[in-house]
Symmetry: C2
Subunit: 337 residues, 2 copies
């Protein structure tokens, strides 16, 4: 039979309520009693029943990780974040649940409400691209659900983690500039993903800082997919003065650019330098291996979740943490011919 809180109480010769206090790290338990109870719990391998705790305490010990699977077909990026969030939740004996949530569709609020009513998460972790969707944040506020974001930008008042994508993009373009490139193209992402804007801004910033003129023809809109990278590259290669380097806003599109280069008979990196963003597994498996930006996704998920849990515990010191990126120079970028 299951060991209940009452059993522990009897074993430790205290009231059930005191065991409950120890279980929840509440104040007003003497050190001696606390120790005795802890030992009894340990000895009996006591495991509180989540449903009973939830019912009585009106909290679920559940964190939901929200993601938009519409524009994010089964990406490894999300899987890594998930891994980190899970690790953080486990460490504090919270449960974690993945919940897809399409931004699109007018029944968005209803679907979000259903999600909350059905699962009662104590808090949620938001992942790109739904970190900045206003109706979502508004609804979470109204429902009183705390949240933390894994976000491409820092937003006042929010907690979670962010990586300075603009700075990362700028660093990437500066790498190309240092190799002597002057005609540097950019393939941008879906415009309503925050990330696209920041990466584009970093590109512009670097170009401007180098004293170069911006050529609108060198910026082509993509959609974060392999195919859109191919299409964008074809467009770029058709220019009278084709670029000597292409910076794609993610690795999938960069792969597409490389594919199109093959197709056009351009050798990478001899004739064309190509670089991406994200460092997906594919990046190091391509031939040549792709120069890209690496962000610590797993760590970001973990940190964001820890911030959220901090908030749930009532401690006020949760914050927005900045995470580092790193430039991965591989074989797809080389000095300008």
């Amino acid at each position: 039979m299951r060991v209940r809180l009452e059993d522990v109480a009897r074993a430790a010769s205290v009231s059930p309520k005191t065991v409950s206090r120890v279980l929840n790290d509440e104040a007003n338990v003497s050190d001696a009693t606390r120790k005795r109870v802890r030992e009894a719990m340990e000895a009996m391998d006591y495991r509180p029943l989540p449903s009973a705790r939830s019912l009585a305490g009106n909290r679920s010990f559940l964190v939901a990780m929200l993601y938009d699977n519409n524009d994010n077909p089964a990406s490894t990026y999300l899987a890594e974040i998930q891994d980190g969030v899970l690790e953080a939740c486990d460490s504090q004996r919270y449960s974690m649940m993945m919940r897809p949530l399409r931004m699109r569709g007018d029944d968005f609020v209803r679907r979000l409400d259903a999600l909350i009513s059905d699962h009662h998460p104590d808090g949620v972790v938001l992942t790109p691209p739904i970190t900045d969707y206003a109706p979502l944040l508004k609804q979470l506020h109204e429902r009183g659900i705390p949240y933390a974001s894994v976000s491409p930008m820092s937003r006042a008042g929010n907690i979670g983690v962010h990586m300075d994508e603009q700075q990362a993009a700028r660093t990437m373009v500066e790498h190309l500039l240092s190799l002597g490139h002057r005609r540097i193209a950019h393939v941008s992402g879906i415009s309503d993903h925050g990330a696209s804007g920041w990466r584009l801004a970093g590109y512009h910033e670097a170009i401007a800082a180098a004293g170069l003129a911006t050529d609108p023809a060198l910026v082509v809109q993509g959609a974060f997919t392999f195919g859109s990278g191919v299409a964008a590259a074809r467009q770029l290669f058709a220019l009278k003065q084709r670029p000597t380097a292409v910076f794609a806003a993610n690795d999938d599109m960069a792969s597409g650019v490389m594919w199109a280069a093959h197709e056009a008979g351009l050798k990478v990196p001899q004739d064309l330098s190509v670089c991406g963003f994200d460092d997906i597994p594919l990046a190091s498996q391509l031939w040549p291996a792709l120069t890209t930006i690496r962000q610590p996704s797993r760590e970001m998920g973990k940190m964001a979740a820890l911030q959220l849990l901090e908030l749930l515990r009532g401690r006020g010191d949760a914050q927005m943490m900045q995470m580092p990126f790193s430039l991965q120079v591989r074989d797809s970028t080389a000095p300008v011919p």
Copy 2:
């Protein structure tokens, strides 16, 4: 304030117990009453509280999806299965939870027990490679936890889905044979993954059926990683009589083989045909695009979960379903020179 079962009961002029019966699709409720209760639920947008249901009913409405993240670093394969499982669970108002579980380590049973005691899943979905790990299955039986597998083979008495990997591998090799290849190599996977054995068996079967002698030098052990594919290929290319085609047991290794071919100055597919297994996104993004086997991962996850839910509902008609595979012929395989 939250709408409770009691509120619905009052609105429908029945006892709470009757509402409970309707909620749980139990027998012995007249059609008229059932309809009236359903309408009241609908009108009031009633959502049962999971924790109360769990506590009173001794079931969690939770399905855990178990995976071994040790040899499966953030793969899209798992993400797709997860998607399918989630869809199935949602459709029956069950919750779903991902739980990593390393097979390795002597505290395996303790970790599994902790997982069960902490979350109380009503059932679990097993994913490769832990579908056939005997201590796991034994422990699940002892704890009385039903499970369904997404498995590379059919095991008597188990429920879930399986894909005939041996047949698929055989089909792939037959494709190479039909292109005229006779010296066909195989790069196998980690030996304690069930999948490796079945794919290897399919390879042997096809070779034998074609009346060819098996050459042990043409079968090289890999580890399902890109790097191990490179290493295996180098070994194969060093043979006096090198193969004209390589069938790798998964796409990552096939990519490695292609990389090594580049390195060795061999053109794919002119000088060497290469094919893989799984159809990961990378497969169609490689240049040349990879010929491979596609399995309906998402659908498999969904079906496995539905079988499990069937079992949980007490209906006895849950079974092991066979799922179809499809040969994706792309650009990495061509007639023998």
